[in-house]
Amino acid sequence: GIQVEQSPPDLILQEGANSTLRCNFSDSVNNLQWFHQNPWGQLINLFYIPSGTKQNGRLSATTVATERYSLLYISSSQTTDSGVYFCALLGSGNTGKLIFGQGTTLQVKP
């Protein structure tokens, strides 16, 4: 099955700094999502981005499907950006099964 690897596993930033999170995957994909799990445990949809580039405020994401990676950019980070960021890909077989990476834990310090 598809393997999903995220890097870095942990990241500490000072408020205002920029960062890039990476998601590598082992096979072609029809669906890639980025989620933010906030400190209260909620999984928040950031991007649905099987290919191309999208932006939403201070966040943007780029997926290069042919090279099997996706990047999540966080600019001017804020303490509320803290939490775990997951990328997840749709597995094969048209079952809707999302395969998650292990996550990047981000801590933004004031």
Binding site: N31, Q42, L43, L90, G96, L98, F100
Partner: protein
């Protein structure tokens, strides 16, 4: 409006008990899922239902039984709870299983088995 809701949010129970978690979505989606998040934050699918029909059963013990009374609801019943069942359980939904398939997650149910 809450898109995907779960009850209860917290569940603390003794080993051996039977418990249920309920999930409802008001997005008009055809497919619903249960995921389990372990203590290391790893998320893995357990079940998916499409139009009330079981699509995925990801080698989950028989003690776990999902039930979908209609497309908007997917409940999870757990028999004879074990310590290892302690985790956060997330319900999710999507329009379908393939193609455009953005999944939306509920707030999670934190289950603690003592």
């Amino acid at each position: 409006d809450t898109a995907v809701s779960q009850t209860p949010k917290y569940l603390v129970t003794q080993m051996g008990n039977d418990k249920s978690i309920k999930c409802e979505q008001n997005l008009g989606h055809d497919t619903m899922y249960w995921y389990k998040q372990d203590s290391k934050k790893f998320l893995k699918i357990m079940f998916s239902y499409n139009n009330k029909e079981l699509i995925i059963n990801e080698t989950v013990p028989n003690r776990f039984s999902p039930k979908s009374p209609d497309k908007a609801h997917l409940n999870l019943h757990i028999n004879s709870l074990e310590l290892g069942d302690s985790a956060v359980y997330f319900c999710a939904s999507s329009q379908d299983t393939g193609g455009y398939n953005e999944q939306f997650f509920g707030p999670g149910t934190r289950l603690t088995v003592l």
